[in-house]
Amino acid sequence: MNIEEFIKHFAEQFDEINAADVLSTTKFKELDGWDSLVAISLIAMVDAEYGVKLTGDEIRNAQYVSELFEIVKSKN
């Protein structure tokens, strides 16, 4: 898996965010539209695309998109 692809899937969980607006250094909780539903969408997406179980606590403890990517990659 690579970060570009991960960011593309990540951005799809938002209604009004394009992959181009998201960088690995983006603080994802500051993105417009971030809420609990996007968080569970993210969990469902990671499960469907990468077969990885991401937990609510892992999302809560992460700040940057790159951190999410690293967690998923390490479990992949």
């Binding site: 609990s36 968080a39 569970i40 969408s41 969990i43 469902a44 997406m45 937990t55 606590d57």
Partner: protein, 252 residues
């Protein structure tokens, strides 16, 4: 005689290997009932069996099978008869936005929370295993009754189906004075809640707890309502989905 007593009543309880079902089994045995517990997990079902109160003349039984397996259900039913109460406490949840739903998930959640129970009850009625004056108790939820929690669409849909079934069966079975009701609880501290905690994070769940004036429920808080519904004290109650939610619904 104490109107809340279950003495001499034979009660079938599904989903008795954990959570609310296990607590209902224990409380109903304390109230004097003869219990038949069902569940999928033999080890945990046996733990429940050991919890049951055994007074003079009380006799309990157990059956291990999956409600989603229709032929297994039919086979088990044939071994029992004369029920004065049936409690459907089996269930499962899935936390996911509706847009990710697959047909397999839809089927699984509906089977676990609605179809398996509906078909089991259908067979119990058809084979005349339920006594006149019996009480049937389903589990609905505030979710699918009065609220719609994000991420729980399939669970809420199944609970909505339960609410509809309860209305019609209460009418159809009234001829035999059989009552049919559903309990619609708010968040209760069980294994299912632990699953919520893992997915949505402990922090969010703690924030949600503040929406409950009396806090989250304990399994026994819900079990006591179930005992009332199984007892003669509730002979005039039928066709209802009764909310029990620690005040969640009035906290707006």
């Amino acid at each position: 005689m104490n109107p809340y007593s279950l003495e001499g009543k034979k009660i079938l309880i599904t989903g008795a290997s954990s959570g609310i079902g296990r607590t209902i089994a224990a409380q109903a045995s304390l109230a004097g009932a003869n219990i038949v517990i069902c569940g999928r997990n033999s080890e945990r079902l046996n733990d429940t069996f050991d919890l049951l109160h055994r007074g003079d003349n009380q006799r309990h039984d157990r059956a291990i099978f999956d409600l989603a397996d229709e032929s297994a259900t039919l086979e088990i039913i044939q071994q029992f008869s004369d029920f004065d109460g049936v409690v459907f406490a089996a269930g499962s949840d899935l936390i996911q936005p509706f847009s990710f739903t697959t047909s397999h998930q839809l089927k699984t959640i509906m089977d676990d929370n609605f179809t398996g129970q509906a078909l089991m009850l259908q067979k119990l009625i058809k084979t005349k295993k339920i006594n006149t004056g019996a009480s049937i108790v389903f589990f609905s939820s505030v979710n699918g009754t009065s609220i719609g929690s994000k991420g729980h669409s399939l669970y809420a849909a199944a609970k909505g189906a339960i609410n509809g079934l309860v209305r019609v069966l209460a009418n159809e079975l009234s001829k035999k004075k059989i009552r049919v009701n559903a309990i619609a609880p708010g968040m209760v501290e069980t294994g299912l809640m632990k699953m919520n905690e893992e997915v949505v994070s402990k922090e969010l769940l703690e924030a949600h707890r503040k929406d409950y004036p009396l806090g989250f429920g304990r399994p026994e808080d819900v079990a006591y309502l179930c005992i009332y519904l199984l007892s003669g004290a509730s002979v005039w109650m039928t066709g209802q989905s009764i909310t029990i939610d620690g005040g969640l619904g009035i906290n707006r």
